[in-house]
Symmetry: C2
Subunit: 366 residues, 2 copies
């Protein structure tokens, strides 16, 4: 292999691709990045066997070839090169990186030992605006289960059909659902995507300036295409719970309040909620919500948030963290909280919007 490329492009490409190459695993080659000439471009790939990410950058290819090199040192090295043009050359299993002021050699492992990253060759299932994908993923990613004892709950469910995509996740204590409306009808399909895959997509969307994201779904895999970057991931087997039936159509008490004041009151109360595992109490009165918590050894807090409330007064307890999670991912200045008595799931929505909801189970005692 022999080629030249622009430092900035190579640096960016490596940043996008390289994070999932992690040292310390069972297979040393998984901490490497595969660099390979392909159709007059340089292809960079990394995989952890669950997710594979490939990116293409422009290059002047003199001689075809491929090698895998340790991701960490390659990324650090390229990021520090201050020359504009970089020449890459592979000699046996060594990559040499030359530019005006710097000359580096990095030892690698033959490309033939790198795992094959599958591709989905069928046509796109759908294509979405990048800004909507970014918002949707960040709003849903707060809810999947962290432990993987029930694998489907550690994933995010995508349900296509009826000219929309429903994206949902739940750890059985709370549920986050986002609906993206589509202009064109798609095939009816359902898939559970590992949460980690979506957080990689989110990371790549913030690194690139892509305006759209294409999605391809096959039986066992999903592929996201973001400009010249492809993220391929396995799907999680199993059926996602039929959650729609537990979402209340209406709630008895509905509060509308300032999101940042609510967030602040919760943070303050959360300081005194460690003893009780994060339990805080909301007292929904006529025109305000009183948030309170207490810790016998440390102290207590009561915060008042003005609110427009409809329906009966009620006292209800929640895990403060679960409320803070949702307030951290909505950009709306106000939020609505719907409650039906102290034992039924409560509903958080954005006023006058129907594309997002967050369902949260109350705690038994405050």
């Amino acid at each position: 292999m022999k080629l030249s490329c622009i430092q900035e492009n190579l640096h960016k490409g490596l940043q996008v691709v390289g994070r999932i190459a992690r040292p310390g695993g069972s297979l040393p080659i998984l901490s490497n990045i595969l660099i390979k000439t392909e159709k007059g471009r340089l292809k960079l790939s990394a995989t952890d066997l669950e997710i594979g990410i490939s990116g293409y950058i422009g290059a002047k290819v003199e001689k075809e070839g491929a090698l895998t090199v340790p991701a960490r040192i390659l990324i650090d090295c390229i990021s520090m090169i201050q020359d504009k043009k970089i020449n890459l050359e592979v000699d046996k299993e060594t990559l040499s990186i030359k530019s005006e002021k710097y000359s580096t050699k990095i030892k690698g492992i033959a490309a033939s030992e790198f795992p094959l990253i599958p591709q989905i060759k069928e046509k796109d299932t759908t294509s979405l605006a990048a800004s909507i994908v970014r918002e949707s993923i960040s709003q849903v990613l707060i809810a999947p289960a962290i432990d993987e004892s029930k694998p489907v709950l550690s994933g995010v469910c995508l349900k296509l059909g009826d000219k929309k995509i429903k994206i949902a996740a739940t750890d059985s204590f709370r549920l986050s659902e986002k609906i993206i409306n589509l202009e064109q009808e798609t095939e009816k399909k359902e898939a559970v995507v590992p949460a980690r895959t979506l957080s990689e997509v989110l990371r790549i969307l913030t690194l690139t300036e892509s305006s759209s994201v294409s999605i391809r779904l096959s039986e066992n895999q999903i592929m996201f295409i973001i400009d010249s970057v492809e993220v391929v991931s396995r799907l999680i087997e199993g059926s996602f719970p039929e959650y729609e039936s537990i979402i209340p159509k209406e709630t008895e008490t509905t509060s509308t309040l300032d999101a940042s004041e609510f967030q602040n009151a919760l943070k303050l109360c959360n300081l005194f909620a460690k003893e009780t595992g994060g339990t805080i109490k909301l007292k929904i009165e006529k025109d305000k919500i009183i948030v309170s918590s207490s810790a016998s050894l440390v102290g207590e807090n009561t915060s008042t948030v003005l609110a427009q409330n409809e329906g009966p007064e009620v006292e209800i307890s929640f895990n403060a963290r679960f409320l803070l999670d949702v307030l951290g991912v909505i950009s709306s200045p106000t939020v609505s909280l719907g409650v039906t008595g102290k034992f039924n799931p409560a509903l958080i929505k954005i006023p006058r919007k129907n594309d997002f909801l967050y369902l949260i189970m109350p705690l038994k005692e405050g």
Copy 2:
């Protein structure tokens, strides 16, 4: 105790004072902040028995009193209160914090159990511009020994006399010395200050907008006065090494080079210097310095930095980290490196300035 004060002032005061109050030590009260009314102001104090920090903020005092409360929760709580005015009241061993929207109670420990923080009542030994103190501390603090096997080397030596202060630190592998010229003569004095004390002073200088720093020296203690903040610290016993004699008056080879290019070349080489404990080689040629390193398992790097060199060509090895440390704390665009053969200490200076020098021992082999 009963008083009211401005949230912003209290928050800032707690940030300045609170960091040295650390939980988990042998004495639980050392994780608390002492709050106390004093001459119509509110005094905040914390100590770790080596360093004591006190700060004063304006307050409307209705009733005198004092209490100690856990620093972490008090700081977090005050930082989240979004009301302008805060009322503090002590009832037995509980502090209540009330403002328009929030009401908090924090349990504390009686003020009588808090260790006495000594004060130096004598007049100021000297007073310096804050900007000079900030620069000097950051330039010298790279050099003290981290382990405390030789206590004086874990400190910074202040030597007053001849209308200047010499500030120096060394871990016996490198030495950093800064000279501040004074307008007025001071008493001849020498003191070794714990490095941690100076890093607290540095931190406080970046938090406050003070334009000057007063210093008071007594037999066993030093006090820094930064606006309404007082930092008192014990001194380290023992004599600091007589380092002046090992500073070479002249060097055979002198290079002048771009500091940021040198820094970048060193960082890049340092990637390949882990196997050799950070050893990099400098080859000083006629008009350039070639920085190189190699690691048998990983790879190698050679970087070229253009330089104006006088004197014979020479090859010399250093610990890259020690060179990077000094390049990280000088703001000059160029730096000069003076070398006398490959075995003598090298000297880093800022061209056309005589107030700072950094002496560094070469390594035996590259």
